[in-house]
């Protein structure tokens, strides 16, 4: 293996130049994990390409030598999607961060994969546009990572996820070809398949995204409730009334405590939960909806309205920093990501409370209330070896709870390595097989980010020349080979 990697390192140095290939073990180890630090593996090699052609050449070499490879953007993923392979190559896009084009008339931007989500908005703002999906990590996460994870954010309730804003992607396929997938292509929606594929169907090298016009009016309010149940009822009432706020976010008492400790957001004291509701659109519409929302938040004991951009930013600051802020009130924590139908929110939250007591772990809740995407943060002390295991169990139990209520094991952070073992709780063997066949169609050698998403290692049996004997579908007459 060392020989193979050594040979690859020499080749890559020839292709990319020596300062774009990392072989020093101390340096390599800084790439050992993404935002989920419980899983760590030092990559065999790291390359820092600057062009699609370089990535294609690297992938081609990997295929030739049957070396696994993994793409990495900013390494903020929370499911271990960019976890490297000790016997493989990590392809890092952080030097590909040029905004290539802002096309105001066509309302689109063309960017390299390492461009951060926020950088697109910053480039578009002077023209009165922005890039709508806004993960909390927007100032640092890359658009390539966003595509891979189909990332969402607070404003996705109204505006949709990454997949709704990607118009085309140039990718390097797992056999080293550079192709462009366009949403307007006739036939199968291959772009749709690529977005959310967690780096297993190829590497995005250029992305065309939709730009959204800045709304005429934005109104942000912060409502403080005695309890999450009361907050949850307000959410259901708002959505039930047919209002689609740009965002409707909830934080519970513990999450508020963390945010206060971190950014001193000064939310109303004594709140069991706060709701952040943002309305945007034409002036009159926002005014009308705003009056309605205030009405529907009748259980709130305090409502604050942001008077200007500074106050709006202050309201959001607490929410956007909440994950990392939990580091202030707990030595360690797990960020969970699950989805439940919105109507099940109060019941699920009550159950999480009960589970938290049962396992003796504090759970802070931060979530996109509008679409039922929960982010329970399970707090524990990593100095106690048993606490980690307990937190892990509790975290799994919360996912079970989500699935039982007809929800999902991930809303936006992806499956990666972390949740592959939960896949069977949600999908049958047949479902997983169907997904796997799609994967094999792109990556017959199973080299592109292997070991992610699927619970057990699978091989692509359907590769010509590998399978021996007649395919069962052919034998049964359901399919034919041609």
């Amino acid at each position: 293996m060392a020989d193979r990697l050594g040979e690859l390192a020499r080749r890559f140095t020839g292709l990319l130049g020596s300062d774009s290939v990392i072989t020093d073990p101390v340096r390599l180890r800084t790439y050992e994990c993404d935002g989920l630090t419980v899983h760590r593996t030092t990559p065999g090699l790291v390359v820092l390409p600057t062009t699609a052609e370089q990535i294609a050449a690297v992938v081609t070499e990997c295929v030739r030598t049957r070396t696994p490879y993994v793409a990495r953007g900013s390494g903020t993923g929370l499911s271990g999607g960019a976890l490297p392979r000790g016997d493989g190559v990590l392809i890092v896009t952080t030097r590909m961060r040029r905004v290539l084009e802002i096309d105001v008339v066509g309302r689109r931007a063309v960017v390299e994969p390492g461009v951060t989500n926020l950088a697109i908005t910053q480039a578009a703002l002077p023209h009165g546009y922005y890039y709508a999906p806004d993960p909390s990590s927007q100032q640092v996460c890359s658009i390539g990572g966003n595509l891979a994870e189909n990332s969402g954010g607070a404003h996705c309730l109204k505006y949709g996820f990454t997949v709704n804003h990607v118009l085309a992607a140039e990718i390097v396929t797992p056999d080293g070809e550079i192709v462009t997938l366009d949403a307007l292509d006739p036939g199968y929606d291959l772009l749709g398949a690529f977005v959310g594929s967690e780096g297993t169907l190829g590497i995005a090298t250029k992305t065309t995204v939709r730009l959204t016009r800045l709304p005429e009016k934005v109104k942000t309010l912060l409502a403080a409730f005695e309890s999450t149940e009361a907050g949850g009822r307000a959410v259901s009432a708002v959505i039930g009334a047919g209002i689609v706020p740009a965002a409707i976010e909830m934080m519970d008492a513990l999450a508020i405590e963390a945010a206060e400790a971190s950014v001193r957001c000064e939310y109303p004291p004594g709140a069991g939960a706060v709701l952040i509701v943002e309305l945007d659109g034409p002036e009159e519409e926002v005014a009308a909806e705003y009056a309605q929302v205030v009405d529907l938040c009748s259980e709130a004991f305090e409502i604050r309205i942001a008077a200007d951009d500074v106050e709006r930013a202050a309201i959001w600051k607490g929410r956007k920093s909440a994950f990392a802020a939990v580091g202030r009130i707990s030595p360690a924590y797990i960020v969970q990501d699950g989805v439940v139908p919105r109507t099940a929110l109060p019941e699920v939250l009550a159950r999480i409370d009960a589970l938290s007591a049962e396992y003796g772990c504090r759970v802070a809740n931060v979530f996109h209330a509008g679409d039922g995407n929960l982010h329970p943060l399970v707090l524990f002390d990593d100095a106690d070896p048993r606490a980690g295991a307990r937190a892990e169990e509790l975290s799994g139990a919360i996912l079970d709870l989500c699935v039982r209520h007809g929800g999902s094991i991930t809303g936006e952070h992806g499956v990666g390595v972390d949740k592959s073992r939960y896949m069977p709780r949600m999908f049958s063997e047949d479902d997983l097989d169907a997904m796997h066949r799609l994967r094999c169609a792109f990556d017959p050698w199973n080299l592109c980010n292997p070991g992610k998403i699927f619970p057990t290692p699978r091989l692509c049996g359907e590769v010509p020349g590998v399978r021996r004997g007649v395919h069962p579908l052919v034998a049964s007459g359901e399919a034919e080979l041609w």
Partner: protein
């Protein structure tokens, strides 16, 4: 045992929010030259990996600009971490001979105002264009870089020990004269003293202050730093002041931090000039200065001391003056204490970026609150062929208070 506190390392949750703030990550786009990556390197070392030349290289490449501190939602004390790490590097890593030689030179020169002043003669000679052309190619790269930064040598100004308040006295303060400021920017010190006096302060300027220790401290030489700051503490205590005004960002942030090693400076309260003036409130009349200026945030004021509003407010109070913001203003100019001496390439790149951003504002004058930044940006501007004067906040205030014309600022 390593001198790096593992608990401080543990606070990092690897979220990456600090990456976009980091100038070296901006330059090179690689993990090992980001705050998160450097913390990983520290973790490796604490876990038993000896300091390798590669590791030391990434720590050395850190500007210590502290841009990563205020943006970290987990409150990671990177400032403490890098300080401990630098000390650890000095303790347990043997640098290659030429690096050692250069460091010895710098640390035996810069913290000693008297030695620095001795250099003024040869430097003035060196600044003769003909001589410079011939000598420069003979100098080793770091020394050449150093020589490029030196501003035109101007006559020395001797400050009196006491400058009396104009009008009714409102306060008595000590004033730090600094090393670089004293040797190369004496006019900034005299402007500072005048502004304070015109605002009603008795200004006490003891001689033989020496260095404040910041340069050594930011380079992992903790004991040397303590020696310097102890001596400084004594000098001011003997002079009978308990508040000291500082006009160099790097010195101010280091003196404010305090450390168990530096007992004798501890009882003194250190204030940045702008902070002090804002707390005092304006009294003297501001005369108009019809100028458009850009204010450069020195890292050790903005990130380390959280001082961004005070200098801007003071500038805006000057009638006729318009203040513009520099794009990407939070990114370090590459000066960072001794950085431009030890990492000339990176410092140069950052300086060029800053110069381009400053230039885009189209102002008549650049204002900065730190001598290192002024040297660095002025030299980057002149490299780019831009004629733009650079002044210290104190000089602009001084010009306005005295009713001088904009020409006094060379603008």
């Amino acid at each position: 045992m390593s001198g790096i506190d593992p608990e401080l390392i543990d606070d990092c949750v690897h979220c990456g929010f600090c990456l976009p703030a980091c100038p070296t990550y901006l330059l090179w786009g690689e993990e090992m030259d980001s705050p998160r990556g450097r913390i990983n390197l520290m973790e490796q070392h604490v876990g038993g990996v000896p300091i390798t030349p590669e590791m030391a290289g990434h720590f050395d490449a850190c500007l210590g600009c502290m841009a990563c501190v205020p943006v970290c939602p987990s409150g990671v004390r990177y400032d403490l971490l890098i300080e401990q790490t630098r000390a650890e590097v000095e303790r347990s890593y043997r640098r290659p001979p030429w690096e050692r030689a250069l460091r010895t030179l710098v640390f035996h020169l810069f913290p000693y105002p008297r030695r620095l002043r001795l250099l003024r003669g040869p430097l003035r000679l060196y600044q003769h264009p003909g001589l410079r052309r011939r000598i420069r190619p003979l100098l080793p790269a770091p020394v050449a870089a150093m020589s490029e930064l030196v501003p035109p040598i101007r006559p020395r100004i001797r400050l009196p020990r006491v400058v009396r308040a104009r009008g009714e006295r409102r306060a008595v303060v000590g004033m730090l004269t600094g090393c670089v400021q004293d040797a190369f920017f004496a006019e900034v010190n005299s402007a500072t003293a005048r502004v304070l006096a015109m605002e009603g302060c008795d200004v006490i300027i003891p001689g033989a202050q020496g260095c404040c220790g910041a340069l050594s401290e930011h380079s992992g030489r903790a004991e040397e730093a303590a020696r310097f700051s102890d001596r400084l503490g004594e000098v001011f205590t003997r002079a009978g002041v308990d508040a000291v005004v500082v006009n160099a960002a790097g010195c101010g942030s280091s003196l404010k931090e305090g450390s168990p090693l530096r007992e004798r400076a501890a009882p003194l309260a250190f204030h940045d000039l702008t902070e002090f003036l804002m707390e005092l409130g304006p009294r003297a009349e501001r005369h108009p200065l019809p100028l458009s200026v850009a204010y450069h945030d020195a890292c050790h004021l903005a990130h380390a001391q959280g001082i961004t509003a005070q200098p801007r407010t003071l500038l805006r109070q000057i009638p006729g003056l318009t203040l513009r913001e520099i794009p990407s203003g939070q990114t370090c100019c590459g000066s960072a204490g001794t950085y431009n001496l030890f990492q000339p390439d990176a410092a140069r790149e950052l300086g060029d970026l800053k110069a381009a951003n400053v230039r885009s504002t189209g102002v008549d004058l650049l204002v900065s609150g730190n001598p290192g930044c002024s040297l660095q940006i002025a030299s980057a501007l002149s490299r780019a062929g831009v004629r733009l004067p650079v002044a210290h906040t104190a000089q602009v205030l001084d010009a306005s208070l005295r009713g001088l014309s904009r020409k006094a600022l060379r603008a």
